[in-house]
């Protein structure tokens, strides 16, 4: 089955916008993208006239809790924080994702077709993350997985010390304590790896299996990044300190104070998953919340992805966050990239999604107009060439 979408203004993200472009979709993949002159409509293709419309890649949200918690289900579906121990690298988002959770429908309605869903920030090390598509109808979580695991969640700052120190009266009760627990866990993983090495020659020396430490060994090997929740500038710097101490691949999640240390982060070309910004400043560590941060960090050289952190900002407004970041100084091109290709790169799925290029999945959104116009609506949302939402 071949389909050709003809006539729209196409924003491939990986290249300049194309007026009156053509997208050819074959077997759920993009077969070709370009101007009408570059891309002839293949013989036998079904032609869909999308003149006057604007086509972008399906949006990618690098940090959300879709399917894990939030919405109206309350405690029955509150599965984001395994708040029984501050170090839980052994828990896995995949074991909690509920494909029928209404947040997936909201994601589709907002044009979001791929997202990384993650445990919360109640624990210093919170568990494994996963990247999924949002076309959940009639599917299991295994059907929608794009990358698993895609990262290990860690957290610094208020949440972890409030939950353990203040509520449960146990460690960590300070920022020092949270950093110490993460550091100790990573050293423990190194020791575990050393023992595994000893056991290669002498099986009697093999340590008992520890599924949590196994995951942290993967982090030490850079098979998956440590994704560290940090709002305040000092917490962000602690996150970088820890990551560099162990030579980890890492991303900074939230990065609310980022503008204060933009040079520090820019020098490192830090991967920043920025947000949620379309909400209120609910705690002291979010006092610097502002849409201008996105443009400042991008200009400094960071790899900025704008996130919803759903449910903290309803995921159907991810594009609104990009538009408001543009309103506050981020160039339009960067703002569109920050909800498509940059997050796809940061979460390790840019070979499949994030831009409209031949060979990638046919995940795209037909907008009624430019998405930074308030009256523009995501009229049709496609995942792997299948229509998954209509306005």
């Amino acid at each position: 089955m071949i389909k050709a979408y003809v006539g729209a203004t196409i924003y491939p993200i990986s290249r300049a916008p194309i007026a009156g472009g053509v997208i050819v979709v074959r077997d759920g993949k993009i077969a070709a993208v370009g101007t009408a002159a570059e891309v002839p409509v293949p013989a036998g293709a079904e032609t869909i006239d999308v003149h006057g419309k604007v086509i972008l890649p399906g949006l990618v949200d690098a940090h959300a809790h879709v399917g894990l918690w939030g919405e109206w289900y309350g405690q029955a579906s509150s599965d984001g924080n395994e708040g029984s121990n501050p170090i839980t690298p052994e828990v896995r988002a995949i074991d909690a994702i509920w494909p029928e959770h209404s947040s997936f429908a909201d994601a589709r309605a907002g044009g979001v077709t791929t997202l990384q869903t993650t445990p919360g920030s109640g624990n210093a090390i919170g568990g494994e993350m996963i990247v999924v598509k949002t076309d959940t109808t009639g599917k299991t979580v295994e059907d929608i997985v794009l990358r698993w695991p895609s990262g290990m969640k860690a957290a610094l700052g208020e949440n972890v010390k409030r939950y353990y120190g203040q509520m449960l009266k146990r460690a960590p009760s300070t920022r020092m304590g949270a950093a110490a627990l993460i550091r100790a866990a990573l050293y423990k993983a190194r020791d575990y790896e050393r023992k595994l090495g000893l056991g290669k020659d002498d099986p009697s020396k093999l340590p008992d299996r520890d599924l949590g430490l196994e995951q942290l060994v993967r982090v030490l090997h850079r098979e998956m990044p440590l994704r560290i929740h940090a709002h305040r500038a000092d917490d962000i710097v602690t996150a970088v300190r820890l990551a560099e101490e162990f030579d980890l691949d890492y991303s900074i999640e939230h990065c609310t104070d980022g503008a204060v240390i933009a040079d520090f982060l820019g020098r490192r070309e830090a991967k920043v998953n920025l947000g949620p910004t379309f909400g209120h400043r609910s705690k002291i560590e979010t006092r610097a919340l502002h849409f201008r941060t996105a443009g400042i960090l991008a200009a400094a050289g960071c790899k900025v992805s704008i996130i919803s952190d759903h449910p903290f900002v309803a995921i159907d407004h991810l594009m609104v966050c990009a538009a408001m970041s543009c309103a506050e100084g981020m160039p339009e091109e960067d703002a569109l990239r920050s909800v498509t290709l940059t997050p796809a790169e940061t979460i390790g799925v840019a070979d499949r999604v994030g831009s409209l290029d031949a060979g990638k999945d046919a995940d795209f959104v037909v907008w009624s107009g430019h998405p930074f116009k308030v009256r523009s609506v995501a009229e049709a949302v496609y995942v792997a060439g299948q229509l998954v939402h209509t306005a």
Partner: protein, 412 residues
């Protein structure tokens, strides 16, 4: 005298054209003295704000906010909206909980919001006294333009969650309605006893500030403003209002679209929102950005609300924009954040439209106020510049003159 000249004026006024191209607004002593078209000339000696290419609207009004009473970026210490120690706290006053130093006011002004109705939260069945204030000032008493402007009430999940968890009344929706009825009944008795004691000093009734506040609702001096998301909660609010012949407004009305015709027939105004927020609880499961438009199209008087901090105050214009996208007319959307909330809050004689005699609360936008990329160039409250775009400030520094023509002393 100040003249705002050359902009497209959206008046939101009853007795003026809705839209005036290349218009002029004259401001003197904090009030609007004239609104007209290009035929008007700048009076001698008047300072000029050049609004050419801009859109000029009344300062926006949010009829349901917790700004100042739920402080921004502070956490627990700044949360003073819910005196959740008794399901009826009619005697508490938003006035006593508002911090005008909350940084959210500056952002509200930047977003073109100049007047807000600030209410206690929804933990209690009767939550306390509501007021209407301007978004500029340091002494809350001076910022208030109407107090009390209503008595806060709540049905649905919040009160039954708060008190049910403590095994106290109300633990159910039935209990919530019973608490509300009991409060109104007791206040009625209080009125009866006061009347009976009118000429008999020996029978003077002890003062009860809680009951006195509820009595003002019974006397229809102020409305009961009832937090109700679900359709059944809305209907309970209407049922009780009719039982006691009191005036109400519906706050949130998240499922209002399901019973729009009924609400319209009853003539009850709705403060709709925060529609941009997540479906955080069962009673907001069916939230849709379409609700405001459905209600307005059915003939209901609608105000759009942020419910700050649930949606930050400065995004009221974005809430309106998204409602337009989802089927609300542009006229209704503008009215829903200007004249309608002014009328619903009882302050339409002062704010909510651009007409002679009104407070000079005026916003100059650099484009369509409801577009994401639009910004306020200049915001006036009582004729004084309350916000000025940074670009205008730097322009002033380069001697190009700022948008307010040096009128304010605040930005240039």
């Amino acid at each position: 005298m100040l003249a705002i000249k050359g902009g497209t004026i959206l008046t939101a006024a009853k007795d003026l054209p809705a839209r005036i191209e290349a218009g002029m607004i004259l401001v003197d002593a904090g009030k609007i003295v004239a609104v007209g078209g290009p035929e008007m000339t700048v009076p001698a000696g008047a300072k000029v704000i050049d609004a050419t290419g801009c859109v000029v609207t009344p300062g926006l009004i949010d009829a349901h906010s917790h700004i100042g009473i739920y402080e921004d970026g502070v956490g627990w210490e700044g949360e003073d909206a819910n005196e959740a120690t008794d399901p009826n706290t009619a005697e508490v006053r938003a006035l006593d909980g508002i911090n005008p130093g909350d940084s959210a006011y500056a952002e509200a002004r930047e977003g073109g919001v100049t007047t807000v109705q600030v209410a206690p939260g929804s933990a209690n069945i009767i939550g306390g006294e509501i007021l209407v204030m301007k978004c500029q000032g340091t002494v809350v008493d001076d910022m208030v333009i109407r107090r009390p402007s209503g008595l806060k009430a709540a049905l649905g999940e919040n009160p039954k969650r708060v008190y049910g968890a403590q095994h106290k009344l109300p633990g159910t929706r039935m209990g919530s309605a019973a608490v509300m009825r009991a409060a109104l009944t007791k206040a009625r008795d209080y009125i009866r006893k006061q009347e009976a004691a009118a000429d008999k000093p020996d029978k003077t009734v002890d003062r009860d500030l809680r009951l006195e506040m509820v009595c003002r609702v019974l006397r229809r001096e102020i409305p009961l403003r009832v937090h109700a998301h679900r359709a059944d909660d809305i209907l309970t609010a209407i049922r009780i209002a009719e039982e006691f012949d009191i005036e109400i407004s519906l706050e949130h009305a998240t499922e209002g679209h399901k019973i729009a015709a009924l609400i319209a027939a009853k003539g009850i105004p709705c403060a709709v929102g925060p529609s941009l927020y997540q479906r955080s609880k069962l009673e907001t499961k069916d939230r849709t950005v379409k609700t405001a438009g459905v209600l307005a199209n059915a003939g209901v008087k609608v105000a759009l609300i942020c419910d700050h901090p649930i949606v930050p105050q400065q995004w009221l214009r974005i809430a309106a924009g998204v409602c337009i996208r989802e089927g609300m007319s542009e006229t209704d959307a503008l009215l829903a954040c200007t004249r309608n909330p002014a009328e619903m809050c009882g302050v339409a004689d002062r704010v909510g439209s651009l007409a002679p005699g009104m407070d000079a609360d005026i916003v100059v936008w650099d484009g369509d106020p409801f577009e994401y990329l639009t910004k306020t160039k200049c915001v006036l409250i009582d004729g004084e510049v309350a916000h000025c775009a940074p670009e205008a400030v730097s322009a002033a520094a380069s001697a190009a003159g700022c948008c307010c023509g040096g009128h304010s002393g605040r930005c240039c």
